[in-house]
Amino acid sequence: MRQKFTTLSSTVVPLPIENIDTDQIIPARFLKATTREGFGENLFRDWRYDKDGNPKPSFVMNSPIYKGEILVAGKNFGCGSSREHAAWAIDGAGFRAVVSSFFADIFRNNALNNGLLPVVVSEEMLAEIFKAAEENASMELHIDLPAQTIEIVGTEIKESFEIAPYKKQCLMSGYDDVDFLVSIHSEIESFEKR
């Protein structure tokens, strides 16, 4: 079972870039692995590290001030190939939610399948978040999954977001599809006997 997701207050890692594709999130050369673990270290590999593996100080994940469990990214996040490794990498790097104004379809599903909450906000709200984070790195977002709201802590800026009821339940109970399907084994067994 995964960590349950109800509410989350956290500082953010802002990445104000649009159309971040899965090749940037996790480059193809890391796909021959046989485990799901370890992808977090290679999240944004080519943005984060130089050829010799030294951290690039200019990249936000290497900044001493921007830390947190919420990644905030520009429009159309997660486009490109369907590799599930992209969601594994973000999850593996310790993020629990990604905020953007638009997600690529497959990425969004892959994220939900891996307990990572994609939160869609309006363009205006996204701009506000980037602005607030730039002005103050200790700015926090508060995500309330049961109420389906997101707000910039200490401000009036607040929005509601959409999520499918079944997926919401999965996240809130810390369940994923596998846990759900395992929980209905007896129903599946009686189906088999029909």
Binding site: A164, D177, V178, D179, L181
Partner: protein
């Protein structure tokens, strides 16, 4: 008024969730070494086992060499993926057909060949070309790694029901036109996104007239037009193909099964979300000239002009032709070829090898051609040897390799070098698919044979 797809889908739906997602029961799961390791790791982490191991079958195919299969795999990561598959199967009591064993092969070749794939079933595999199995009248489609884990854990996956499309091909096919030409033609007409969101039933007299193996080629490539999968209603061709196969029902069970399977067809008044009809007589032997499977034309045709395309399409069209080093208006016939690859889950079956061998019989491989003739399974290899096809091939200067995915994708040792042209009977011509900067021309086994003996792209009809 149900479609064939509805009938199978509905009878496998355990429960429908809020929002329309279905818990779909899976009769057969196939696994290979590339997309399964993380799923098994996931089960271990949860402390659960495989729910119905007897319904799962594994075969390593992507990473394996097609020569010297008795030796250990040289590339360490490939060797590790294959070893991990073997270990996971042993630990979970899953049937596996190891490298070099009698039943090893590309998973989409051995499913039908062993009779594991049967009409009316639901079948999944962590591989997009799982659609192949739909040729026997089942719902078969590719899934992601999380879904592989779901199916292992519960023999079910969560899935929303796709829309329905029927593609009819009516009338008689011209001489030298094979099923690969039919599907390349359809994709060239509908585009690589033409089937997105749909599950396709192929029907019509031209489809009915095809052999079982030829039907598999059509369903195999149904996903190259974006469809979730393809299927063909089972008939006497299907039953004749399956009868007596290792895992097919036997005796009285067989009779009952055929009776059941015979009812698997779309009702006369079934309504499809989309229906398209093609005239078989319009289809010529095909070849692709670009970098997606929708860029196909008649082998004796010319590369289309970009006139009338919007500016974004023009840019990607120019990029594709640039990659291939072709020019609009070029004739395909006469263009030089360096490699010929016959194989893959699309055209690596015995009928394909027969077609190729019959054509090259009494002819010689062109000097400039490197040819890889790769059976789709150990069984296909055995038949090719027994039927004397290997002798014919060797006589003509070709070599029969050992089974595997081979040059279909650049994951094992068989890679096409940068800049070289390869006429391939496989299914994808994306940039780099057969090796970095390799240039792929997709075609059927007959067009491949004509290129192999002439060294250039040739219309096989001029040589019959």
């Amino acid at each position: 008024m149900n479609t064939l797809f509805d009938k199978i889908w509905d009878s496998h739906t355990v429960r429908v969730l809020d929002g329309g997602s279905c818990v779909l029961y899976i009769d057969r799961q196939y696994i290979h070494e590339v997309t399964s390791p993380q799923a098994f790791a996931g089960l271990r982490k949860r402390g659960i086992g495989v729910f119905r191991p007897a319904q799962v079958t594994a075969s390593p195919d992507h990473n394996i060499p097609t020569k010297n299969q008795h030796l250990p795999i040289a590339e360490p990561q490939s060797a590790q993926q294959v070893a991990t598959l073997e270990k996971n199967c042993a630990e979970n009591g899953i049937r596996i057909f190891p490298i070099g064993s009698e039943r090893n092969g590309i998973i989409h070749v051995i499913g039908p060949q062993t009779g594991l794939t049967q009409p009316g079933m639901t079948i999944v595999c962590g591989d997009s070309h799982t659609s192949t199995h739909g040729a026997l009248g089942c719902i078969a489609f590719g899934i992601g790694t999380s879904e592989v884990e779901m199916a292992l854990a519960s023999q079910c996956i969560l899935q929303s029901k796709p829309k329905s499309m029927r593609i009819n091909v009516e009338g008689e096919l011209k001489p030298c036109v094979c099923s690969k030409d039919i599907i390349l033609y359809i994709i060239s007409k509908l585009g690589t996104g033409g089937g997105t969101g749909y599950f396709v039933e192929f029907a019509g007299s031209a489809i009915r007239s095809l052999s079982m193996e030829a039907r598999m080629t059509i369903c195999n490539m149904s996903i190259e037009m974006g469809a979730r999968g393809g299927m063909i209603a089972p008939d006497s061709t299907t039953f004749d193909y399956l009868r007596g196969r290792e895992f097919a029902p036997k005796g009285e069970e067989w009779e009952k099964a055929v009776e059941r399977w015979s009812k698997l067809r779309s009702d006369d008044d079934a309504v499809f979300d989309k229906e398209i009809t093609f005239d078989a007589a319009d289809i010529e032997p095909m070849i692709t000239y670009g970098t997606n499977p929708g860029m196909g034309i008649a082998v004796n045709g010319e590369i289309p002009s970009s006139e009338g395309m919007d500016s974004a399409s023009k840019i990607s069209y120019a990029k594709a032709l640039g990659y291939m080093n072709f020019t609009e208006g070029d004739k395909m016939v006469g263009k030089p070829v360096d490699y010929v690859f016959v194989g893959s889950c699309t055209n690596g079956r015995i009928e394909d090898l027969r077609t190729f061998a019959n054509f090259v019989k009494g002819r010689k491989k062109a000097e400039n051609i490197t040819a890889w003739i790769v059976p789709g399974s150990k069984e296909v290899e055995r038949m090719a040897i027994e039927e004397g096809l290997r002798d014919i091939l060797e006589e003509a200067g070709f070599e029969l390799r050992q089974p595997g995915c081979s040059a279909c994708l650049a994951m094992n040792e068989d890679k096409i070098p940068a800049g070289k042209y390869c006429v391939a009977t496989s299914n994808r011509n994306f940039e780099g698919r057969q090796g970095p900067e390799a240039r792929t021309l997709l075609a059927g086994p007959l067009v491949a044979a004509a290129a192999a003996v002439t060294g250039v792209i040739t219309d096989p009809r001029t040589m019959m």
